[in-house]
């Protein structure tokens, strides 16, 4: 049996590359949030309590556009529904003896990247390993947000403008490799883009608020994908 100390240590090492990747993205998110009317402290609080890139990005946009709380809840819920699937898969890999407080803390750390690493780790997953795994990414996500929010306004405008594309480039890095490997994913991506452009161009539809538009486009595109290609054991 391995000691709890070394399990935590193993987790920390596995989380280091994730933390490095998170820093550039959370720094950019901090710049965005301040530009959209958040104070550095509120932006940091959002990162600390949410720990989700696409969800936070959409949430800030919706609040800045003065969207309703219903729009905010539905859009962010839909964007984060994938965590439900990840936690469903993760639940069967956890040590069955884990207590409720331990499960509450582990649930806080389920992100795309942390889930991806945890799903490759030895079963059963213990709490120590998972705490180690999530520790550096959480620090990096929260610290990067604060630094971006605090330094964003004093950065040279040319640099701040260039950093504005970083979050979108991260989105490209997330969707291109699976779209390249799987024609079904590529089809869903192309359909979502086409629907989104259609909604933006068509009179009547283009006045739809950001959150509702993204929600409707996603349900249509992912729904078509599921009807055409329901697959076994997808994750």
């Amino acid at each position: 049996m391995t000691s709890t100390h070394s399990e935590f240590h193993k987790g920390v090492l596995a989380g280091l590359p994730i933390a490095l990747g998170y820093f550039s993205v959370s720094f950019t998110f901090g710049i965005f949030a301040v530009r959209d009317g958040f104070s550095p402290l509120l932006a940091t609080l959002l990162s600390l309590t949410n720990l989700s890139s696409a969800g936070q990005f959409a949430g800030v946009r919706i609040m800045a556009d003065l969207g309703s709380y219903a729009e905010l809840a539905v859009a962010v819920l839909l964007i984060n529904l994938r965590y439900l699937l990840m936690s469903l898969a993760l639940a069967s890999r956890l040590d069955p003896r884990l207590t409720t407080p331990q499960r509450l803390l582990i649930g806080f750390g389920v992100t795309d990247e942390i889930y991806a690493v945890a799903s490759q780790a030895e079963v059963p997953l213990g709490s120590r390993f998972f705490y180690g795994l999530m520790s550096l990414p959480v620090l990096s996500w929260v610290g990067g947000t604060f630094l971006g929010a605090a330094l964003g306004p004093v950065l040279p405008s040319s640099l701040a403008s260039a950093l504005g594309i970083a979050l979108y480039c991260m989105f490209i890095a997330i969707i291109v490799p699976p779209a390249r490997a799987d024609r079904r994913v590529l089809s869903v991506v192309v359909l979502a883009i086409a629907l989104n452009l259609g909604f933006l161009l068509l009179p009547g539809l283009r006045d739809l608020a950001f959150g509702w538009r993204i929600t409707i486009v996603t349900v249509l595109a992912a729904g078509c994908g599921a009807l055409l290609w329901p697959k076994e054991g997808a994750s």
């Binding site: 949410n50 905010l72 819920l77 439900l84 405008s157 480039c169 890095a173 490799p177 697959k231």
Partner: protein, 105 residues
């Protein structure tokens, strides 16, 4: 937006973000049965991210030409399977260079 409105917004976001993450860990011990639902959940992140990225990425820099070239660089790096941070910094570097060059025209 007032601080109170933002705090309420953050609370709403916490509920819909933390709920899907933690409920399966507490309640469910078996896999989702429906192949349709599994596929739907699997496709959602790609559809969401694609819709949030296009066309907004083309307006993410102060010069549209810089944004288009930055997007092309990110697509190329991602297509070659480079890491998240390489793709992000590659796109930022191209936008920064193009915008700097454009200052002289």
């Amino acid at each position: 937006m007032s601080t109170g409105e933002i705090l309420l917004g953050i609370l709403v976001m916490v509920l819909v973000t933390y709920g899907p993450r933690v409920l399966p860990l507490l309640l469910l011990r078996r896999q989702l049965q429906s192949a349709y639902l599994q596929a739907f959940f699997a496709y959602v992140p790609y559809a969401v991210i694609a819709a949030m990225t296009v066309p907004d990425i083309f307006f993410a820099a102060s010069q549209p030409a810089a944004a288009v070239l930055g997007t092309a660089a990110a697509l190329l790096l991602a297509y070659r399977g480079r890491s998240l941070i390489t793709v992000a910094l590659g796109g930022v570097a191209v936008v920064f260079l193009v915008e700097t060059v454009l200052l002289y025209f």
